[in-house]
């Protein structure tokens, strides 16, 4: 695994998994996360993602170690591992707080 800060490092060791009650829609150049089922009403749960967020969401197609997302995004966007880890962990925390993903104590791949 590449070098990252201590906090990010702990998070990067996790794995994330999408909540299947949401689905992403790519419309024009916009990515929208829409609830499919469950008690959440559509009206209070539509999220829009920017380009990087869209790419990260795309990568979370199933259970995936955060470290793998960091590696891929770092490579694709030509940014340092630390920068990638910081932004990605922050973004994943938001996704988790909205119950769009679940995290688990995964193993680094």
């Amino acid at each position: 695994m590449t070098e990252v800060s201590q906090t990010s490092s702990r998070c990067v060791e996790k794995a994330v998994d999408p909540d299947r009650s949401f689905v992403a829609r790519r419309i024009g150049d916009q990515t929208l996360i829409v609830p499919v089922c469950g008690s959440v009403g559509d009206l209070n749960a539509i999220y829009t993602l920017n380009e990087l967020g869209s790419r990260i969401w795309e990568l979370i197609d199933g259970p995936i170690p955060v470290s793998q997302i960091v590696d891929i995004v770092g490579y694709e966007y030509d940014i340092s591992a630390e920068e990638a880890a910081r932004d990605i962990v922050e973004f994943l925390n938001v996704l988790e707080s909205k119950a769009l993903i679940r995290s688990s104590a995964g193993t680094d791949s």
């Binding site: 992403a24 829609r25 024009g28 929208l32 829409v34 609830p35 829009t48 909205k98």
Partner: protein, 428 residues
């Protein structure tokens, strides 16, 4: 990641993708069969119409089309009928659409909603459900729907959805049969149930060319009287006029036949796979059983949208058309010609303008403009409308609404033979 309010999201999203001409908003009629036989309905067929049922798109065909709609960028989807729950497999179609990530609205009369359906919708929650309540009394409701027991079934459907906290809105159509109960329905919806309410009164002929719905259509004067009595509608018309009134379109812009959103960002699909500009547009259809949605959207509907007017009519330079229901589909249904002005709509638009003191610029040979042959006939109606207090609902001594019947009886014909519809070939 941004979390935004729905209103902001919708406005911004429309703006952001406007240039792409994406089919953002679609209407799918899953069936035209319906357990009710409403006098005003433009498309209903009997529940037992076996031929209609056999011709309807199958579940698999719906799934294929929904896949194509998602790929094409459709986001808002309306399922309507007929009655959507007349199809035993409707929830299967609906669920498939939900898994594709559409924001789905359901139009239903509510009479077939069972606890099981309501429970299912709780799990697979729609964006919105709109039930049409045709009356506030059993007598009126069933006079309009023609089916005994339908009133109780509709109220039960409403209760089942509300008990589960589903996003319900009520609406109605104001016609001669229920016009005295519109405000009671509004009060029931907004005050007793706490749900949104809206109503419409612009009836049009049936899409099979029958003019029968016009038998229950309100007079133009009654329509505008409703506007006057409803503060919300009054405000909306005034705001609408402020926003949209501008000098008549220059000729180079006004030669387009269509000026709605149909074929630009919206479309309709009938129960048999016919793709068109809107649910009323029967003249130009692309068969989705023979081609893909993209072929229909980018090829066929674009060509329909590019159609030009063939002649100048009083509508061509009329500023009121922004607040008038006149469109090629309406004109075809009512006059058998997409460009022939619909007299009823023209009367309503002019009455509305005069009653609300909106400017009416000269726009050609129009009988309802000053100096025209119908102008003097409108003026007594305008005078009576202006005597009404905006926002005040007029109630008669027997507790019913008094609505002035100011206009002449609507001409009603029995169908194509006298309605002038080109779709069936009677007047080609």
């Amino acid at each position: 990641m941004k979390e935004v309010s729905y209103g902001d999201f919708s406005a911004r999203f429309h703006h952001q993708v406007a240039a792409d001409q994406l089919p953002l908003s679609g209407t799918i009629e899953v069936t035209r069969r319906c357990p009710l036989t409403c006098a005003h309905c433009y498309n209903n067929l009997p529940m037992g119409d076996r031929q209609a049922q056999l011709n309807e798109l199958s579940y698999e065909e719906h799934c294929r089309i929904l896949d194509e709609l998602a790929d094409a960028g459709c986001f808002w989807l309306l399922f309507t009928g007929g009655e959507i729950f007349a199809r035993p497999d409707f929830l299967d179609i609906y669920t498939y659409a939900k898994t594709k990530g559409f924001l789905i609205t359901l139009f239903t009369n509510g009479t077939l909603i069972s606890p099981k359906i309501a429970d299912y919708l709780t799990k697979w929650r729609p964006f919105s459900i709109e039930i049409t309540l045709y009356g506030r009394t059993k007598n009126t409701y069933e006079h309009l729907t023609g089916i005994p027991g339908s009133y109780e079934r509709c109220l039960r459907g409403i209760d089942l959805l509300l008990e589960r906290g589903l996003p319900l809105a009520l609406k109605t159509v104001a016609v001669t049969i229920n016009k005295h109960e519109i405000w009671d329905i509004q009060r029931f919806a907004e005050e007793e149930l706490g749900v949104e309410f809206k109503f419409d009164m612009m009836m049009n002929p049936r899409i099979d060319c029958s003019q029968s719905p016009l038998a229950v259509r309100l007079t133009p004067e009654e329509c505008v009287a409703f506007d006057f009595q409803d503060p919300k509608r009054t405000n909306e018309w005034e705001l609408f006029a402020e926003r949209h009134f501008r000098p008549a379109n220059p000729p180079e812009l006004s030669d387009e036949l269509y000026y709605c959103g149909g074929g630009v960002e919206s479309f309709a699909i009938d129960p048999y796979g016919g793709l068109s500009i809107c649910v009323l547009s029967e003249a130009d259809k692309f068969d989705l059983r023979k081609g893909s949605f993209q072929e229909g959207w980018q090829g066929f509907l674009r060509r329909v949208r590019r159609k030009k007017i063939t002649r100048v009519t009083k509508c061509t330079f009329c500023e009121l058309k922004q607040m008038c229901g006149m469109c090629p589909a309406n004109a075809t249904l009512e006059n058998g010609d997409p460009e022939s002005p619909v007299d009823f709509l023209c009367r309503v638009a002019h009455l509305r303008a005069y009653a609300f003191n909106l400017p009416v610029a000269p726009h050609g040979d129009c009988e309802y403009c000053e100096g025209g042959t119908g102008y003097d006939e409108l003026m007594p109606s305008v005078a009576r409308l202006k005597q009404m207090t905006p926002g005040k609902k007029v109630i008669s001594s027997n507790g019913h609404l008094f609505l002035p019947v100011l206009g002449a009886q609507q001409p009603v014909s029995g169908g194509c033979s006298s309605g002038g519809c080109s779709s069936c070939g009677a007047h080609r």
